[in-house]
Assembly symmetry: C2
Homo-oligomer: 224 residues x 2
């Protein structure tokens, strides 16, 4: 990211360490950040509390949007569907996939960005590591940029709204190292999908978080 | 549209005559239609009642999704902002533009379509006539198709979800004629933006509806 002092950016903030690191990276580059947090019925509602705490720690304005997808089909929305076990990276799209979730999130972020005159939308997607989600891939972001150019007032009037994905090519351990250097308050972040009051240490998300910290040689301050 | 007997389609239904005609066109082509209706805080909430009535008249399942855009900036969402006057077609994007609205609607439709295994999303956008909205243009739909291919499970697994815009190149009078031939219950549709209990006959939407019926030589059964 180039220097963007005083420019506005909408940052999609989930409460996990990826989006928290993205927020701190955007701040570091001078953006005036507006966080957008989604309450979409995720089983791990605990992450909403984390997202709010991170936004406050970063001294950023935030909005929580509540949306409901009344259709079923994701273990991230239904407590009676089993979460996937770790170690399946790259094999198939995990059951935690929520149909078109990032597309919906980006659409709202785009609407928000257009409304406040923001020049960028920042999202902490990364193609490597555990993802396997189609809406985390570079090709998808390239296609969405074209949607912005052709389908918004800002785009057609020549005011570009960029999508910034500073983590896209990074591994989890690289993200941990970056976050550490940016002084991201890791203790406030939340990764576990399970929805309990403590990290389960068994789900995909716990597994790859622990692996990331381990490979980075950094202690996770969230007691695992 | 080719013959699609038994295939599922999600139809974005606003309650206006464009989306009603799109629904009937999709049914005619054999689609099993699932209507998606948005309560997005529009000043003309009356159209929600129209949308439900049309879905029922067409014997189609429907869902009403409530979403709120807490940011401001559209005369369609704010009653104290003046609606544009008719006759500005092509001059500029009207004040009724809601930032990224159709992108948000399509994202939800995409999520719904993926979840129920629908093969198509139908939307009644048309580039001609009064629109001027960037998210009604063919280039935008082409870009969004690429988002579907790259950013969804369905797309990456080779099951395409098509976006069908049967009205895209049509004028309002052609839409009226098509709707008439498909026996669209025009009396149930609602176009006025104003939010009153009767059509205002002054807003953009009333103006172009009246013009369309007049040019088609068909009587509008909604008492104007």
């Amino acid at each position: 990211m180039r220097n963007n002092k005083g420019r506005k950016a909408v940052v999609l903030l989930s409460g996990g360490l990826d989006s928290a690191t993205t927020l701190y990276a955007a701040k570091k580059k001078g953006f005036h950040c507006f966080c957008l947090i989604f309450d979409y019925g995720q089983r791990h509602q605990r992450e909403l509390r984390a997202a709010r705490a991170i936004a406050r720690a970063a001294h950023c304005a935030y909005r929580v949007l509540k949306i409901r997808l009344p259709w079923k089909g994701s273990s991230l929305l239904e407590k009676n569907v089993r979460l996937p076990q770790p170690g399946r990276a790259g094999l198939k799209i995990p059951s935690t996939y929520v149909a078109a979730r990032n597309i919906i999130f980006l659409s709202f972020a785009l609407s928000y960005a257009e409304s406040i005159g923001a020049e960028a939308i920042c999202i902490g997607a990364h193609a490597q590591d555990y993802s396997g989600y189609p809406d985390c891939r570079p090709e998808f972001y390239a296609a969405f940029k074209k949607v912005i150019r052709t389908g918004t007032k800002a785009g057609t009037e020549g005011r570009s709204i960029r999508i910034l994905t500073p983590l896209l090519a990074k591994t989890k351990s690289q993200i941990v190292r970056l976050g550490n250097s940016l002084k991201v308050p890791f203790a406030l972040t939340w990764s576990c999908y399970q929805g309990g009051s403590k990290p389960c240490r068994r789900c995909d998300s716990c597994y790859y978080r622990a692996k990331g910290f381990q490979e980075a040689g950094i202690q996770d301050p969230l007691i695992y």
